[in-house]
C-alpha cells in the first residue's frame, strides 16, 4: 500500500481547474518532493490529501484511506504543516499543542515529546502571537508530529523564512526522517533545498503531473547526473580507482564512504563498477533536481 496515491483526480475552483486528471503514487518510507512552480497545484494536492478539499473526480488514497470520506482515520495517520499556516494568536503554545494532542487521543507526554524534537521546550508558556516566524514554523512542525504520524505532509516548509531559519528547518526535517522513519512529502518550488533531503519526486505543472518516481529512476530516465554514496572498508583505495572512470565527475572521500558525482545518465554504470571494485553498498544520494526538473519540463513540453 502506497503512502499517497492520486488516480485521475480533478479539482475545480469555479471554472478553473487546479488539478487536471492528476495521477501519481508515493511509496512509504521515502522523502518525496512535490515540485512545481507557484500555482502548479501542489497546495491543492496536499489539501486533497488531508481531506480539507473535496475532489470533483478521481480517487485519492492516503495510507489506504479516502481522506474525504474517512477523514478521521486518514488524519490519525498524517501530520500536516500547511503553507502559511495560521494559528490562533491569543493561545499559549502549550494550550494549542495539548488540544491538538487530545484530538489524537494523546496527552502532555506527547506534547513534551514533540517540543523536545522541535526545540520549543522553552516556549511552551508563550502566546503564539509572540513567536518569531522561525519558531512559528517549528510550532507547525511540532503540531504535525503529534501522535507519531506515518506520513508527514509539509507544504512549503521554508517559505517566508530567513536563510538561517530555513537551514534550521531543513536540518530538522532531515533529522526527522532519519530518526522517526516516517514518509515525508515536501511541496516546494525551491529546488536546491529539496536536493538535500528528497529521494523521490513528483513533478507537477499547471495542474498536471509531468512525471514522478525515485530520484534514481528519474535520473536514468532523463539522463541527469547523480550523487552516489558508496560504502567501503577502504574509501581512499576505491576513490583512486573510480576517479579514473570516464563517467565519474568528482569524488569526495569520507571516513567510511565516498560521495561520487556521476555524469548524466550513467549512475547505474558507476554503481555496477563500484560493486565490482569491492564496495559494500551503493546508495543513490541525490540526483541533480534542477537539471532533472528542466529535463522533465522540456520533455513534457
Amino acid at each position: 500500500m502506497d503512502a499517497l496515491s492520486f488516480k485521475e483526480v480533478y479539482k475545480r475552483f469555479g471554472a478553473t481547474y487546479a488539478l487536471h486528471g492528476v495521477t501519481f503514487t508515493i511509496p512509504r518510507k521515502v522523502v518525496a518532493g512535490l515540485l512545481g512552480p507557484n500555482g502548479a497545484g501542489k497546495t491543492t494536492s496536499i489539501k486533497l490529501a488531508v481531506g480539507l478539499l473535496k475532489r470533483n473526480k478521481g480517487e485519492v488514497e492516503v495510507l489506504g484511506f479516502d481522506p474525504w470520506r474517512e477523514e478521521v482515520k486518514a488524519r490519525m495517520k498524517i501530520g500536516v504543516l500547511h503553507e502559511k499556516p495560521v494559528y490562533p494568536p491569543d493561545v499559549k503554545v502549550s494550550t494549542l499543542l495539548l488540544h491538538l494532542a487530545k484530538l489524537r487521543g494523546s496527552d502532555w507526554r506527547e506534547v513534551k515529546r514533540v517540543v523536545g524534537i522541535t526545540g520549543l521546550k522553552e516556549y511552551l508558556n508563550i502566546k503564539v502571537k509572540a513567536l518569531s516566524r522561525g519558531y512559528l514554523q517549528r510550532l507547525g512542525l511540532a503540531q504535525a508530529l503529534l501522535g507519531d504520524p506515518e506520513l508527514l505532509l509539509l507544504d512549503e516548509p521554508t517559505a517566508n523564512l530567513d536563510p538561517i531559519a530555513r537551514m534550521e528547518i531543513l536540518e530538522l526535517i532531515k533529522n526527522l526522517q532519519k530518526e522517526l522513519n516516517v514518509t515525508v512529502i515536501i511541496s516546494s518550488h525551491i529546488l536546491p533545498e529539496l536536493q538535500r533531503v528528497c529521494n523521490y519526486a513528483v513533478f507537477i505543472g499547471a495542474g498536471r503531473i509531468l512525471d514522478y518516481g525515485s530520484m534514481g529512476d528519474l535520473a536514468s530516465r532523463y539522463g541527469v547526473g547523480a550523487i552516489l554514496k558508496i560504502y567501503t572498508v577502504n574509501p581512499r583505495l576505491l576513490a583512486s580507482s573510480l576517479v579514473q572512470e570516464e563517467y565519474v565527475e568528482a569524488v569526495e572521500i569520507h571516513d567510511s564512504f565516498l560521495k561520487v558525482r556521476t555524469r548524466p545518465g550513467h549512475w547505474r554504470y558507476v554503481e555496477k563498477k563500484a560493486l565490482e571494485l569491492g564496495a559494500e553498498r551503493v546508495e543513490l544520494s541525490t540526483a541533480k533536481l534542477e537539471e532533472m526538473y528542466k529535463a522533465v519540463v522540456k520533455y513534457a513540453a
Binding site: 480539507l52 488524519r75 499556516p85 495560521v86 490562533p88
Partner: protein, 262 residues
Amino acid sequence: MRPRILLHSSYILGRLSKELAAAMAGLAIIQVIFLSMMAPRMAIRVTLYPQPGYVAYPQPPPMMLAPVLGITGFLYAMLTVAMGAQMGLELERGDSALYLSHPISRLSYVASWIIASIFIPSLMFFFSLIIPILILEPHLLLGVGGGEIALILLQVSTSGSIVLLTAALFKKRSLALAVGIFEYLMAPILLTLIAAIITFTTHTTPSAGNMLWIALLYPYNYYMMFGYLGANWMGAAIVNMPVFSMLTALLLAYTRWGFEVK
C-alpha cells in the same frame, strides 16, 4: 478518550472563557435587577373573590418577563451572533485548516461550534434567569412565563443557526455578523411593516392565526405582538421548531457533504 465534539467545544469555550464570564456577569446582573423589581408583582396574585354577581374586569395576559427578556434577550442574541461569527473568522483566517488537519471530522468541528455558539449562550441565559428565581423563591418558577423563555431560546437559536450556516457557506466573519444582526434586528421590523401593509391593503383584521407566519423565524416576537389577540406560545413554538431543525440539519448536511476549508 472524550468525544472530539466535546473536546473541541471545551477548547473554544476555554479560549473565550473570560469574555463569556463577563457576558454571563452582565446577563446575570440585568436579570436579577429586573427580577427583583418584578418579583413583588410575581410574589402575589390578587383576584376578585369569586362570588356570583361580581364583575371581574379583564386583565392583560401576564407577560411578566417581557421587559427583562426584551433587554437580556437582545444581549443573549448578540452573544450568540458574535459567537457564530467567530466560526466565520476561523474559516476566513485559516485557523480551521489547522484543527481540521488533525483527527476531528468536519461534522464534529461544526457541531462543536453549534455547542459553543448556540447551546452554551442559551445555557448561560437560562442560568442567569433561573438562578435568581431559584434563590428568590422556587415557587415563582410556576408563575413565570415558561413559554416566553422557551420562545426566546428558540428564536435566538434559530438566529444562531442562520449565522453559523452563513459562516460555513461564505467563510466570512463580517458577512455572518451582518446577516445575524440583520436577521435579528432589522428583519423583524420589516416583517412587521409587511404585516401592517398586508393588513391594510387586504382590509383584514390582524389575528393570531393569520399572522402565525411571523413565528417561523420569530416565535417570541410573534407571541409578544399578538399575545393580546390570543396567540399561544405552544403554537408559535410548533411553527418555529421545524424551521430551526431544518436550518441545523442543512448546516450539518452541508458540513458532511460539501464543507471545504481553504
